[in-house]
Assembly symmetry: C2
Homo-oligomer: 337 residues x 2
């Protein structure tokens, strides 16, 4: 049905080799021949079959990005930035959404491998993630974005979680808080454990009240977050501030706390992590930690393309920690004892 290179060759009376040359802008074609071919290509709107081409060249100009949850603004913003950047370099980005489900991730990565992507940008991996480890071992150019593996030598671009948590807690301390409830992300993700570990370490250091009862594991389903908040608020001595391990959860906390009729920040302060665009909305005004989403996203895709194109020295893993920043908004204030 669609025109093929062979058709173009036949219709212009040249060989397929010649058509291929003009298609790829290679030298050594008589201008008249080239013009004739170009004209026909335009006329019939011929598009080369990239998959066929890739069988010979080994390159698909396709990058697979795997995200944990495309409805979380953190990931959709990142995907948007990365896609535009990729296109500038003539790569097509294909995005798969795992919904934080490891089986879905497996399926998606396999589908991408079967389609011969040139490289992977993975923003969904668990700490011990067999499939992702396989991909790296198999030699696919790969960059982990936002979440890393336990394994040490993988390329990653992540926020300096420890620093971020410190900024958040120091801010709360300066406001006069002493008792902070923490809603952690799932421990199977690097963000989950690192933010949690830092929370515990910094809490101690800053002289906060500590104890397992102040720490709840949230999930990515709202119900879990709500349960966690309830438990914190029902404590004999409830915390004066809640630190949610990411903005997506902080939004759920905020929703629930307001629903309950509590005033923020007078009765309870809330702080998040990520600084998704919505955090700045006037109805939300969430104090949070800016993890440099755009810088990270751009760096990730640039580095990946450099690896694919062989421009980056590959001897040492690329491991970049982004510098977090505190964003003070209206969801935090001094506690009224």
């Amino acid at each position: 049905m669609a025109f093929t290179l062979k058709d173009i060759a036949y219709l212009t009376g040249v060989s397929t080799a010649t058509v291929s040359r003009v298609l790829n802008g290679k030298p050594g074609v008589k201008p008249e021949t080239r013009d004739k071919i170009v004209k026909l290509i335009k006329e019939v709107d011929y598009m080369p079959d990239i998959t066929a081409r890739s069988m010979k060249t080994g390159k698909t100009y396709t990058i697979g990005m795997v995200v944990a949850d495309i409805t979380n603004p953190f990931y959709s913003e990142a995907a948007k930035t990365i896609e535009f950047q990729a296109r500038k370099h003539n790569y097509t980005l294909i995005v798969g959404n795992t919904g934080n489900n490891i089986d879905e991730e497996r399926t998606i990565i396999t589908a991408f491998q079967e389609r011969n992507v040139d490289g992977f940008l993975i923003a969904s991996s668990e700490l011990r993630d067999k499939k992702v480890e396989n991909v790296i071992r198999a030699g696919y150019p790969t960059i982990l974005y936002h979440r890393r593996l336990a394994q040490e030598r993988a390329n990653f671009i992540c926020c300096d979680e420890e620093k971020g948590v410190e900024l958040a807690l120091t801010h709360l301390k300066n406001l006069g808080h002493r008792r902070i409830g923490f809603i952690s992300g799932p421990r199977k993700f690097s963000t989950g454990v690192e933010r949690l570990r830092s929370f515990m370490a910094s809490s101690q250091e800053l002289g906060f009240d500590t104890g397992a009862f102040l720490i709840k594991e949230g999930g990515y389903e709202k119900s879990r977050t709500i349960k966690a908040v309830k438990e914190l608020l029902n404590l004999p001595e409830p915390p004066t501030a809640i630190f949610a391990a990411n903005d997506f959860m902080a939004l759920q906390v905020l929703d629930m706390v307001l629903e309950k009729g509590m005033r923020v920040p007078d009765e309870i302060s809330i702080i998040g992590f990520d600084d998704i665009p919505l955090a700045a909305h006037h109805s939300i005004q969430l104090t949070t930690i800016d993890v440099q989403l755009h810088t990270g996203a751009i760096t990730a895709i640039e580095k990946l393309i450099n690896i694919i194109d062989g421009l980056e020295n590959f001897s040492e893993p690329i491991q970049i920690l982004l510098e977090p920043k505190l964003k003070v908004r209206a969801s935090t204030g001094s506690p009224c004892y």
Copy 2:
């Protein structure tokens, strides 16, 4: 580097034809032979090259979805639902984001054609969209989702915009409003013109104040929406309610109005369109029109796969209008004159 079917054949001492048969679960292979092959495949984690396969079969099991703005929750929710549904049928969804830019859309669609997608789900088209028209004319199975073409015979699944606008305006009338400001979407999209046209028609019918000064074209950049709101509020007789043509803009309106220190809904009511998940958030509580996002998304992908698989009768275009519903929340109330 990676194992090929040929390797598997060589290592098990059979022909490539036989390996291909077991790969595709075709009958007529001796059980022992099959077992031997299956075992090796597992052992070396062999993955068939789907693009090579597709050259013979003509099917890539890949569906291209084009969205207008992946950071707009409307589209990310839809993409998420559609991707999971596609995977159930063994299709891989690849998503491209146009950012409402027609040139990007062109590039994305071309990239998808070059990769031989089996069909298109397009949620980004302008009313007169040469590229999309081409795709349809070229015979690709295609369903327009959310936005349609001016051209009459294309498949689409959209909300009944007219009905939706009527619901919104009737609600405002019942609250006692008589003067409504409208922030329309760009007129180049079907949603833009249809919601606008219905606004004008219904306003007249319901006896509202009418006039071009009550209608402003918003954009998808925040600055435009802000400018539009300012102009409405600076009118000698400003409207008592603002109707934004979609929730994404309604959120911007809300942000700006609160920023200005106005109380919602006492001083101004705000109503949106789409019912994105965030509209229900306690900090937002936006009254809006539910366009049946999930029903539409699921229907769209099911229908598309039916067309691709040849299960759907193709004689008449598939044209489905979803029934909108009013969601009353706290952003609308009676005006205090």
